[in-house]
């Protein structure tokens, strides 16, 4: 028998020198603290992210209360500035990124038929460092001031002379820590995907969620380190009085900060979008009962997005006075990136065409995601048209845009994924009834909150303002947005309640409640510690489909197949 075939019997080739030490077995709290099991680590990532989601959500509601009427005095501008900074920071670094990393941590080894990730102990370290980073960022609260220069912390406002309280220092250190954790997770996922796929799983037989997580991990590797460099330089300026970004004073450059930050910041938004795209590519086909339309194009468009994501960062800087040539080049690149994104949208929609659609919660969220993401994508293309950006950047129009893609897109995609995989993780189905309440309240609340913000931006309302003058329609539209936010808040509560209720009382799920096709469904729900007793043969992207429908099974060609199975 070959080396590979031995490992096939064992279920994977993730080499643990020792079996799980006694401390980490079982479900006691000590087992969670000391675990190196990707499933437990994934769950810890996700639970932590949900906690921070609550925090970020409360921050959002506080902002919306303050903005409900003109000249309100519920919050001082200093309080508001702290809160909007923390809202952005929390949602991006402590919610969306880690929740997708958690989901990937849980699913990727299962989906490729491995026993764990390539570096289980590094995995655990990465989680705890991430958690520490999140705590450090909020620890600043004890100094009397959280970070307050916005989540992108532009210099010179973020320099010591304009922000002398230590909130930003904590923010920087905390972000460097979460960054280290994130990079560790990315290295782990990549090594796992490169090395530990089941026998027979060629690149073209890999689930699309795994493809997207692979690309996301590559983006993380090359975007997070520039951010770390920039953060170190800013900390140097603030604490050691260095001169990187101190314009006006000593030859430093405020614009350099923006280049460094957005070189990270733009790929960052794709780090937050691609996993959701991966979820869509899993959920839509299963609930349409037919394969994804255009697997190769969906995978390929992900690669294109990954590459292009590093070539568009200046579109966040169109209004700072760079040359026409620079603006034009980045305008073209930013328009170009809409093409592969559109390809995905079209492929998902066409997967549904002539399918047999099960209108369960996962598909409902997926369908809403498509429409909402298209709206966000459209306004994105508008921003790529430089003169339109020159009017609308830094206004509520861009606040609307970003929330349509990140919430209407990524969060709805995430919800689809949670309803889909909750049974696998917990062994129980989520309540479909609560799910529908959650869905409709979310659709109504989300769109009510953010659609009117397009109009506010067109009416000249600038962003990051703690209040606004009583100009025509500003008050009404802001009030509508606030009401929508509370409806959305209720939707989120329904979702959290659904999680808790279903965990205790949900219908037992069984191995494969959705009649799905990828390897994670070829084991129990939840899976045993070592993931698989046995693996089905992998000859296409849908191993379980091939097993259950041998007459319809198709072999995806692999480079070394001599003939069909």
């Amino acid at each position: 028998m070959t080396q590979e075939s031995i490992s096939a019997i064992e279920g994977s080739t993730a080499p643990h020198e020792h079996p799980f030490p006694p401390l980490t077995r079982g479900w006691g709290w000590l087992s969670w603290l000391s675990t190196t099991d990707h499933k437990k680590i994934g769950v810890m990532y996700m639970v932590t992210s949900l906690f921070f989601f609550g925090v970020g959500g409360i921050e959002a509601l506080l902002m919306r209360i303050q903005l409900a009427a003109p000249n309100a005095r519920v919050l001082t501008p200093q309080e508001y500035d702290n809160i909007f900074t923390m809202h952005g920071t929390t949602m991006i670094f402590l919610v969306v990124m880690p929740i997708f990393i958690g989901l990937a941590n849980y699913l990727v080894p299962l989906m490729v038929g491995a026993r764990d990730v390539a570096f289980p102990r590094l995995n655990a370290l990465g989680f705890w460092v991430f958690l520490l980073g999140g705590i450090v960022i909020y620890l600043a609260g004890f100094t009397g001031s959280l970070a307050n220069a916005g989540w992108f912390s532009y210099a010179p406002l973020s320099e010591f002379s304009y922000s002398s309280r230590p909130g930003i220092d904590y923010w920087i250190v905390g972000l460097i820590e979460t960054g280290v954790g994130t990079i560790a997770a990315a290295v782990n996922l990549l090594a796992t995907i490169v090395r530990y796929r089941a026998p027979g799983m060629t690149w073209r037989r890999m689930p699309l969620f795994v493809w997207m997580m692979m690309i996301t991990s590559l983006i993380i590797l090359y975007a997070l380190t520039p951010l770390n460099a920039g953060l170190i330089m800013l900390l140097g300026d603030r604490v050691l009085h260095m001169h990187f970004f101190r314009a006006n004073v000593s030859g430093g450059s405020a614009i350099l900060w923006q280049h460094i930050f957005w070189f990270f910041g733009h790929p960052e938004v794709y780090i937050m979008a691609l996993p959701a795209f991966g979820i869509m590519s899993e959920v839509v086909p299963v609930f349409s009962r037919k394969p994804i339309f255009g697997y190769t194009f969906v995978a390929g468009s992900g690669i294109a997005i990954g590459l292009l994501s590093f070539m568009v960062w200046v579109h966040h800087m169109f209004a700072i006075g760079l040359t026409t040539a620079v603006n034009g080049a980045f305008s073209a690149a930013s328009m170009l990136i809409a093409v592969p994104t559109g390809v995905k949208i079209f492929n998902w929609s066409t997967t549904m065409f002539r399918g047999r659609l099960r209108l369960d919660a996962p598909l409902l969220f997926a369908a809403a995601m498509i429409i909402q993401f298209v709206i966000g994508g459209i306004t994105g293309v508008m921003f790529a048209a430089v003169p339109i950006d020159w009017q609308l950047t830094d206004s509520y129009f861009v606040v609307a845009h970003m929330h349509y893609v990140l919430f209407g897109g990524s969060m709805f995609g995430l919800w689809a994924g949670i309803y889909y995989w909750f049974p696998k993780i917990t062994g129980r189905m989520m309540s479909e009834r609560l799910g529908r309440w959650h869905f409709w309240l979310a659709v109504i609340g989300f769109n009510m909150t953010f659609f009117v913000q397009h109009i506010l931006g067109l009416l000249g309302m600038s962003r990051r303002v703690y209040t606004y003058p009583n100009l025509p329609d500003y008050g009404t539209l802001n009030l509508i947005s606030t009401i929508g936010a509370f409806i959305l808040g209720i939707a989120v509560l329904m979702f959290l309640w659904n999680l808790v209720w279903s965990f205790r009382h949900g219908e037992k799920a069984g191995d494969n409640p959705w009649d799905a096709w990828t390897l994670e469904w070829a084991t129990t729900s939840p899976p045993p510690e070592h993931n698989f007793e046995k693996l089905p043969p992998v000859r296409s992207a849908r191993p379980l489909f091939d097993l259950n429908h041998p007459d319809l099974a198709e072999v995806t060609p692999s480079p070394t197949t001599e003939g069909t199975a």
């Binding site: 096939a8 490169v194 090359y222 260095m242 001169h243 030859g251 692999s558 197949t561």
Partner: protein, 195 residues
Amino acid sequence: MTTANSAAGAARGPNVNRHKVGMLFFISSEIFFFLTLLSSYAYLSGAFGNLPRESLAVPRTFVFSLFLFSSSLTVWLAERAFHRGRHGTFRLWMLATIALGLVFLTGQGIEYHELITSGITLNYDVFSSAFFTLTGFHGLHVITGLIMLSSLTGLSFAGKLGPKNESALATIAYYWHFVDAVWVAVFSVAYLIFV
């Protein structure tokens, strides 16, 4: 369900060791860290004035750089000895690598000392901020590499390093070559191009 010899053509990823894969991905990520510091250095260089030319010792630093570059050769020779099972030779070349790395760091130390005593401290101006940060982080990476090399050498002396640890040696060697390559870039940018 599958048995050992599953589908014809069990083509999966390259049969590379996970540690090597992990280190290579990590190194590729660190490259972008240094690219950021290097491009920031270049971006800010317009405000440096004559300071680099007046205060940096180019020829001397070049000589010290040669020590670092030759340490890549010695670590390669160490690996070769290891593969041939000649552990005594292996340890010798490892010690040589570490010594060469230390000499390089000493050179950096001398350079820093001269700058600081002539008033160009860490936060003196844009040039000093950029220079110390760029070379300083490279230096930190060198120190990390030296620690790892020393650990391996120590384990070998204690008789605890054998053929099964081949991947540990390989990954640390990758890291060391990376640190070397970064210095090529840093030296070129800080001592040759923007001086």
